[in-house]
């Protein structure tokens, strides 16, 4: 089985995996990093969102070979202490209900803020429409993204 040199949250991780194995499962099952979630496996629910070179991607659609040589950021890597503006904003607005979608949601929000440091409601809707929240926390997500922007979230 081939070996891949991955960089996860700034740390080098060497994994032996089939070339087409999704990054999602490398993270969860090989590296034990369960913050990134499985929601559908076909790239349309956003639960598995991570950043690849700073942009949101669905890790269930990124293969091991495609992940190699890129910088991957997961929810665990946003900060050592929940101090990332998105995390602080999410807590301040008390966004989460069940919480399962939130890591993917937060990563999508991070990606948006890098691209648009002061997003409008329409920008937020467009960027996060790939992330399902079955609990309906969307109203607070909108508020949290605006707050994160004010807290300097474009990191």
């Amino acid at each position: 089985m081939p070996r891949y040199a991955l960089t996860i949250n700034g740390t080098a991780k060497n994994v032996e995996a089939p070339a087409e194995m999704p990054l999602l499962w490398i993270l969860r099952d090989f590296l034990g990093m369960t913050g990134t979630k499985y929601g559908c496996g076909v790239g349309i629910c956003g639960a598995c969102t991570v950043l690849q070179d700073g942009k949101a991607v669905r890790s269930c659609q990124v293969t091991a070979s495609a992940a190699a040589g890129t910088r991957i950021t997961t929810i665990e890597g946003l900060s050592p202490d929940r101090s990332h503006p998105c995390q602080r904003a999410w807590l301040q607005e008390d966004v989460a209900q069940c919480g399962f979608c939130q890591p993917g949601m937060i990563m999508s929000a991070c990606s948006l803020l890098r691209e648009k440091p002061s997003p409008s409601d329409a920008d937020i809707d467009a960027a996060l429409s790939e992330n399902v929240c079955r609990c309906g926390s969307y109203p607070r997500i909108r508020k949290a993204v605006h707050l994160a922007a004010r807290l300097g979230g474009a990191k």
Partner: protein, 718 residues
Amino acid sequence: MTTRRDFLKIAAISGTALVVPFHWAEAQDKTAEPFKPNAWVRIDPDGKIFLTVGKSEMGQGVRTSLPMILAEELDADWKKINLVQASPGPDFTRLWTGGSFSVSGSWKPLRTAGAAARAMLLGAAAARWSVPVSDLRTEAGMVRHSASGRSASYAELVADAAALPVPADPPLKKVTEFRLIGQPLKRIDGPSIVDGSAQFGTDVKVPGMRYASVVRCPVLGGRVKSFDSERALKVPGVRRVILISTGLAIVADNTWAAMQGREALDVVWDEGPYASFSSRTHLEVLDKATAQAGVLMRKDGEGLAALPKAAKRIEAKYVYPFYAHAPLETMNCTASVRDGACEIWVPTQAPNAVQTRVAELLKIEPAKVKVNVTLIGGGFGRRLHWDYALEAAELSAQLKEPVQILWTRSDDMKFGYFQAASVHLMQAGIDAENKPVVWGHKKVSSYHNARSRPTAEQKLDPEFNRGSAWGVYDVPYLVPAMEMSYVAVDTHVPIGPWRAVFSPSSTFARECFLDEIAHATERDPLQFRLDLLGEPFVFKAGGLTLDRSRMARVLELVRQKSGWDTPLPRGRGRGVACNIYDAETHVAFVAEVTARPDKTIRVDRVVCAIDCGVIINPLGIESQVESGVIWSLSSVLKDEITFAKGHVEQSSFGDFDVLRIDETPPRIETYLIPSHGEQPWGMGEPTVPPMVPALVNAIFSATGKRLRRIPIRASDLA
């Protein structure tokens, strides 16, 4: 370590005078016993407070609201509490989360538990300082004696308190004395959710754990006829292919390998007796069944016999489809069966049921089944069943290894159980003064059958049928002649509880039909409802006691806050709907929509007024309003579950989509009747039923089109 008992013994033997050490805390060492007056409260000698949560957290906030109740009566420091999730055992024999019942059912027991612990701590301090209890007060984990300025932390009093008898009926705080209850406290699990450390069922890792995926017959009710696992076993990481009760389990070293393994499995299915079932035909069957009499659930006055005498008659049929729960975390369970015992990690709403059923399956004592309840990534009633736990236990027993079964999204969509489809025959009679004088509602649907089936007797029992027809018989409105019936159509499709259960379909039909009557008699729909909520206010429907005046109060609030009486321009409309959920929580909605030129609907604003009795946490209530609104909007604006050739046609969020952020109304407003009374009412489900008719009524107001079937399609508005 010298215990108090030892000390007394030594003192007695040596003949010295009995001296109770004054600074007992200093004599404590780390092996001293924690203070555990009941199953809910534990205070360690080092001061750590542990509050036990007896309900499963699935987003409704119970791991915050329930500890708030305990901490309130205990007067614990909210910032310093730790949570313990209850597990089935001698102290917890009926763990079960649902029915919007967590807060209201836990209210008295938790208050009593917290108050008992507090009473004992006060008693300990009173004895230590030789003062009456009435001179003491508690605050944030401290007991204080104002007169002398003395104080002691709960930690310092733990040993003395533990020696006191546990009061059975301790005094509870007055509602006016609450410090925590009523506060907008943030979710306790928030931090672990935002840093990814929160552990859901799928996140459980057990040493030596295998990962499994189960392939099931796509036709419901079918089973494996034959299979060839040769190709599957060649997939790297796949270890075994095992036939279990629910299908073929691919067991592998990681989830991906298990999922890949199923793609390489060759199976021949025995499709069973339901291979031609279609939901289209099923709905036709339901429609035809409206001609049957069914079981009479309620009759006031002459019932429908008064219909021929009415000056005008209106009749309409409402159609409601099957729906899936579609929580974001798919079904999963981790089980480890070994040495005649079993340990389970599972996101479940029914821990004791899981324990009992697994014990039965494995033929061991329930005490040998340890159930660890994880966070749930969406429950909505689906996780009341033990099916996905039972198959994991069965597989682990066969494997003789710990194993996690994770359902794929497609598995989750197609298997399990569904919200029942129903057809509602609505009839009304109006007199010469344009007043409704006859009301008829016949619901045709299917009983719950996934976890248990009704007996022949139950099927004929009006009370049992009422139990399957919430929102049909417990109508808040006063109409002199009323008749409500239920016609059951049996189905092999597994049917089970879905958020708000029997209420959403009934409330959709009822509140939309009421609107039809209002418009037919040229009445304002909101005022029309108020006029039907007159005296006598308090009345009985089945086993429920309802109070019309409470519903009226909530309608007045939503009228005021929504600006109902201010007309909207053409192309925009407002709709109102209301409901009393389980005779407890009263909810009214006004929805505001715009009909776009392309014949789609934009939901601009939703205004919600609620009476939930005592308010525990307004932040939590608001989030449940938003949650119920968005859940219901999904059921109107997105997708349904359909069956063709015996199988579910949908497999992902691609064909059973739910509302996304870009279709969420920019304004969802919550207005609460101020906290009142002595009892909080539930919020998990009550906001679901009235949202659907509020929207459908708003669509009528904006477009003139009366829709009697959901989900709506663009062609409905063309």
